[in-house]
Structure formats: C-alpha cells, structure tokens
Amino acid sequence: MGAPLIGARVERKEDYRFLTGAGQYTDDVELPRQSYAVFVRSPHAHAILKKISLDQARKAPGFIAAYTGEDFAAAKLGGLPCGWLITDVNGQPMKEPPHPCLAQGKVRHVGDQVAIVIAETSAQARDAAELVAVDYKVLPAVVDGAKARAKGAPQLHDIAPDNTCYVWAIGDKAVADAAFAKAAHVTKLEFINNRLIPNAMEPRVANGAYSRADDSYTLYVASQNPHVERLLMTAFVMGLPEHKVRVVAGDVGGGFGSKIYLYAEDVAVTWAAKQVNRPVKWTSDRSEAFLTDAHGRDHHTVAELAMDKDGKFLAMRVKTTANVGAYLSTFASCVPTILYATLLAGQYKTPVIHCEVTAVFTNTTPVDAYRGAGRPEATYVVERLVETAAREMKLDPAEIRRRNFITEFPYQTPVALQYDIGDYNATMDAAQQLADVAGFSKRKEESVKKGKLRGLGYAAYIEACGIAPSAVAGSLGARAGLFEAGEVRVHPTGSVTVFTGSHSHGQGHETTFAQVVADRLGIGIDSVDIVHGDTSKVLFGMGTYGSRSIAVGGTAIVKALDKIVAKGKKIAAHLLEAAETDVVYDRGIYKVAGTDKQKTFGEVAFAAYVPHNYPHDKLEPGLNENAFYDPANFTFPAGTYVCEVEVDPETGVVKIDKFTAVDDFGKIINPMIVEGQVHGGLTQGIGQALTESCQYDATGQLLTGSFMDYCLPRATDVPFYQVDTRETPCTHNPLGVKGCGEAGAIGAPAALMNAITDALGVKDMPMPATPQAVWKVLNNKQAA
C-alpha cells in the first residue's frame, strides 16, 4: 500500500458534512413528539428563595409541565458530584457543599437554575417561563476571590466556613524558605490570572427522551465525554442503572473544557422526559451560556523566584487564591491544584518549589477546566517570573532559560511529575531562528522612528497531557479512572469500523485516528471509519480533555489493532499451511517469510467471517477486538513561543507583529490538524492576554454577558502565525505522541505579556492588555 499515512497532511474526512450543512449537532436532533424546556434562572447573585409560583405559567398556551427544586428533592434526585477529592493541609477532605440541579432554598449566582418549564414549542416555553413568579430575599454577595475569606464576607454555604473549600499545598516550605534566605536575587510578582468564559460557538444543548416500552432513557447532549456524563448522571445523581441510559454526543461545536461537565440541565431534561413522557429539549442561548457554562482561570497569585548570582534558580514560592465560583463543578477542585502546582517546575531545574492554593466559593458561575486547565496559569507564573528575573538581573531572557533548562531525562521534578523526555534547547533554538530574534533591535529602531514601542517576549512552556495513569490519579484524589477504550471491528470484506472512547468536537479524530488505523493495517484510509460519541455504540470511554485523545485513546486503538493483526496471523498461518511464527504482517499482507505465499488482510478477514477453512479448534470466528489502555505516565509536550508586539503609546493599542510557536508534541500524525490546533490555542491564549475578561459588578451581576461586552478575538485581532515543531517521541506509548490541543492557550499569554511589558518598559501589566489598560499603565509610568 502507498505512502505512510502517519505524518501526512490528509484532508479531513469530516469536512464534507460540515461544509455542506450535513453535520448533526445536538440542536439539530428533533425527536417525534418533541417538547421544549426553558429554565427560570436567578437574576440575583445571592438570595433566599421565598416562594415560587407556577400558577400563571400553567395557564400559558402550550404549557406542559414545570418543576422546581422541591419536585427534584421529592424525587430524591441527588446533587451534581465533584469528580476529584482534594485533601487539605490539615488532612481534611475539601468542603463539598450540595450542588442541586434546581436551587433548594437559596440561589448562589446569577443564572442559578430555579425551575424548568416545558411547553409545546420553544417560544411557548419561553413565554410560560416569563410567567413564573419567584419571590427572592436578596442577600449581599461576594464575587472577588481575594475578598471571599475576609471577615464579614457573605457566606455561601453552611458547611464551608469563610467560603473556603480547601487550603492545599505541595512542596517543602521550610526548604524553600531556607533557599530564599540564601538567594542573591529574588524576583517577585503579584497578578491576577483573569477569569475567562469559554464560548464554544455551539451553545450547550440537552435533549432527553424516555421510553416506557423498555424503561430506558436517551440523552442527546453537546458533551466532550458521553460515558463520563452517563456515569455521573446515573450512578451519582439519578440512581439509574447505566444499561438503561444511552448518552449520545454527536457533532459537537467546540468544547474547550466547557462541555466536559455534568450540568444541571442535562439531568433535568432527562428526568423530566419520563415525567411528561415526551422528549424534552433545552437549547442554551448565548446569554445563558455566559451565565452557566463553567468559566475558566480566576487566580490571584503572589509568586517569587530565588536565584544565585548567575541567575541559577534556587527555589520558587507561590501562593494562589483560586475562585471556584458558587459550587464545585465536576473537576473544579483538581484544576488549581493537581493540574496547576505540579507544572510549576516548567522546563527548569528549580530544585525546590512550594505552592499553597486556597480555593474559595463566591457568588459567581462555577469555574472549571478551560483549555489548558491549570497549566496556562502555571506557565504564566513561571514564565512571567523568569522573564522578569532576566530583566532585573540584566540577563538575556533566552540565556537565563538556557542556564536552567532540564537537559537530562527522565527528570523528577520537586512537584511530583516525572518528565520522560524533551529537548528544550532545540525548541528554543528553532523559535529564535524562526522569529528572527537577531533582527529584533533593527525592527525596534524602525518602530521608534515611527513613534511606536516594540517589545519581544518568550514563553517556554511545558504541560502534562495524556491524562492520566489511573492509579496515580486515584492516589491524588481522582474519583474516576482515566484510561481509554477502543474497539476495532473488521468487516468480512476487510473494511474497518473503529469505535473510540475519545470524542471529537473539532479536533478531527475521524481523520487522525483513521490515519493511524490505515497506516498500521496497511489498508486505504477510505476503508476506515471512526465512530465516537454514543454510549450505545462505543464500549466505554473517558472522553476528550487534557489533550489526551491521541496519547490515550489512540494507544487503546493501537492495542486493539495489535490484537487484530495477531489473530489475523493465526488465521493466515492456517490458510497458508505455515507455522504462525513464520508469518509476518507487512502493510496489508500476511506473508510466509522466505516464500511467495501470502494472503491479503481482506482475505484473512473474509476467512474469519466465512470460516469454511478455519482453525475452529483453536480460534473463534470473527475479527473484532477491544482494548483498554491505562497510560504509564503523563506526556510532556513543551515548546518555546516568541511574541513581538508594536504598541502605539498614543492609543494604547497593541499590535501583534509576529507570533512564533515551536512545539514538541512528539510524533505527529497529521501536521495540518496539529497546526490548526496550535493556531486555535494561540488565539485563545491571545484572547486571554489581549481582549477577554469576565467582569462582575460588586453585586454579582455579570457585566460581560454577551459578545458585545466580552471580546472574543476576531480575525483582525490576530496575525498569521509562524508555527513549527521539533520532535522527541514520547517514551511510553507506541505512537510516540504527546498531544497538542492546549499548548497554544498555555504558552501564549505569558509570551504576549512578556512582549508587552518589554515594549512598555514596565514590570507589571494586568491581563487583558486592552488599549485602555495599556494607556493607563503608560500614563502611570510617565507620572511616576
């Protein structure tokens, strides 16, 4: 068979349907006897629910049913669970306040669900919901994480005094303090990692159906992990057996983390479908998405780096307050701890690191994983510190990094992770070349002539992907396994359907995974289809997040492929009347070594399904194999980003002149798709640094609740990117892959803010660096 498919720029198999309007997103699913739900939501950030009256709503045209928290309590529906237990510094479990699907007695953020109203059409449901009268006693609210623990701050949950979920720490504080005492230089920064609103372009949708015929449920939902959704919903909330619930996540219009979680609406429509004995569909509008999709980031951090006189890192101390919002979302607890503090070593040999994280509840939308999840926050800490340290010590920022790069692998960091492989000098070298760092001073002169400021900034990031070895995750508090499952079904004529527990919502698995399968089997890519996103088809799955699909999901498929090839060998040996050990498989053909005897993959598949001449005493017919893969370690993509900006001091407008990204993702299956992932990640990272910021007023009203107030990057905000890769194959999975989905969002903010602070000649600059913010910083500098 032709050229290798692994590493090839194959155009995407899924594109035809998306380009012709034939995608099937969840809102496109319309079931017979469909009904429509609208949620009544709290307009207040913090209030006692005194009375809910449904009387007027019941009279509205098309009204079918409405339910409140009382109905849910009577039905004994549980609250939404948190999937990761964090143990605090005193050895106590984190505080886990109830997270009811519909509010019970109190609402805790604007948008909190109060009632579900179901009607014949979506317009009628909306009209009826308007008629639900809710009597609130408004309470004072707290929105700022840094203020949540202050004396007299409004208290959200009885079981969480001082609004504190946990105080958690990693590393040896005494050793770190001792290192700081001996340091020649200490660099200290205090900053906010701004809260972001994910805004996948497809809003969330959930369509629940129930069949009396077999007492079973089907939930169509825009989700990144349908099996996890089913597990959480059945086992922890509804008390249903899993075999009675099917979850389907077909085409999903982007996730970025926000569609990982089990949401109240998903449970509510599923439960209500049985009550009204009709399918119930809820489609979020964008305003609801702003209020109810889990937000990201929101850290307040003080960080210090201790160095010797040569700029060698001696120790790092970090203190972070993480605002988790009003309730614990599904993975909220592990994002600012396990996924954050363990990455604080970055690419460096810092021998001692201590980090303390305080997670607090506030009257805001719950915060959870958003593209990068903890790792962008860690990279921001490390890379802003390192760049600032270089400037303070008058060292070249690339040079200070090189002096501290980890160069020997495997490397055990002081914060629990063991990096298997990397070459940080290689990505730094390549990035410097591609970005033409050497020509920067010339370009700067040109800018100065025009009355503009020019700056250059680096970020040398690392991330932990391929989450995760289940035993390790379990010991750290994960309440789920983190393996992946795959199934390879060879059809009688040799074409193949592969079922994966990974989920694609833009990443292009239908192509990338098909490349892996076709390449490994030596068959044409058109003979391979990838199926995902339906619990009734796929045997099991943990889904897609943390850039895990190819490293974990891909490996599960490879393991299943190995079984297929091995069984095929037995069949071929029988057909060729040869010893199994003499049969080799070579790109689609079983051959007897040293002879011209051979059988094609298709012939062997046919024999497996039409087993007239078949080793029935030794083998079952058929050619279908499953595999589960639990990774041996995380994977560690890393790279260097270089950003160059030009700032207009008159207006404060920042123009990104060049953005260069050189990543090491290990082996690459489809460079076109990988580049696309980097472009998208970079743009979200640039969004965080330049345009996006979730803002609440003091009463907890969301001020940035639409695309008119919350500035998603547009095409004119970003440049063409210069991207390239270097490759150190991952040592512990057969494909040598690491994952590429989040890197851009992880590395971009620090690189951009380093460039801006360089241009402005200042140490601190808050994100996002909007023209107004930049102008203010420049004016303050001049005044000082």
């Binding site: 219009g253 964008r286 076109m672 696309g676 063409f720």
Partner: protein, 159 residues
C-alpha cells in the same frame, strides 16, 4: 397571529405559516429543517446564522421571517453543485483546513462567497476585515483567511 410567508429557499418555493415574531433562522431550521444554518448568539455578533438573500450575505437571526417575503434565500445546503461536488469556496476550506468543529463554517462559507464576488483577489487585510461579523473559536482564523483567499481566486478563475 399566524402569517404566511412565501419565499424561495435553495431554488424551491416554500410557504411557511409563522407567528409575526418568528425569525428567519427559525423558519430555516425548524420549519424547513435545514439545520446547516446555526445559531451561535443572541446579539447578532457571531455570523453562524448567515445565509445568502438575493445574493447578499445576511444574518438570518436578525431578520423576521416576514421580512424575507418574496426573497430568494440560499443556505449552506444549497451551495454545493447538484451532484454533490463542493463549490470552490467549500473546497478551499477543506484544502486549507479552514474548519475544525464546523459550527461557524456555514456562515463563514456563505459570507466568504459573497465577499469573493466583489474581491476576486483579496489581500489578507481585506479578508480579515470581511470577517468582522463572523466569530470562530476553533481555528484562530489563520486557515480561514488562507481558505477565503484561495477560494476567491478559484472562484474568479472558474468564471
């Protein structure tokens, strides 16, 4: 009050009975079940709902169905050739990986086709400015901009 709206969609005459407040996008998605046209926002910002009306790209979330009376609308389902071959702009999006999750894509393609008619050889800046009303959260626009440039030139060449 129900009203009757008659229009042509993808070359076919259709009559829909709707409430006065019904939006054009609702008729397209719910009455005609042409679900390739998407709804990504409620403030006319994202462009996922863009359709072509009398040859011009419009946001179907920002029009009442009644305003479409007597017009000719083309949705993404009507863009490819009758035999299923992709329109040059669609083909350019595929070749240049100008889409990831595909949710913004129908609006992007329809808008790009309208733009390309007036810009047979557009510059990067012209393309970026033309995307003012179309948001994409996946691609970072890089490959969309490339695709539109290539698609515009292909359209011009095939004239």
């Amino acid at each position: 009050m129900a009203v009757k709206v008659s229009l042509k969609v993808n070359g076919k005459s259709v009559v829909a009975e709707v409430e006065e407040r019904t939006l054009l996008v609702t008729v397209i998605r719910e009455h005609l079940r042409l679900t390739g046209t998407h709804v990504g926002c409620d403030t006319a910002q994202c462009g996922a709902c863009t359709v072509s009306m009398n040859g011009r790209a419009v946001k179907s979330c920002s029009m009442l169905a009644m305003q479409a009376e007597g017009t000719e609308v083309m949705t993404i389902e009507g863009v490819a050739h009758a035999d299923g071959t992709l329109h040059p702009m669609q083909a350019a999006f595929k070749e240049h990986h100008g889409l990831q999750c595909g949710f913004c894509t129908p609006g992007m393609v329809i808008n790009a086709i309208d733009f390309a008619k007036h810009h047979p050889d557009p510059s990067e800046q012209e393309i970026r400015e033309a995307l003012e009303g179309n948001l994409c959260r996946c691609t970072g626009y890089h490959n969309i901009v490339k695709a539109i440039g290539a698609g515009a030139r292909a359209m011009a060449a095939s004239k």
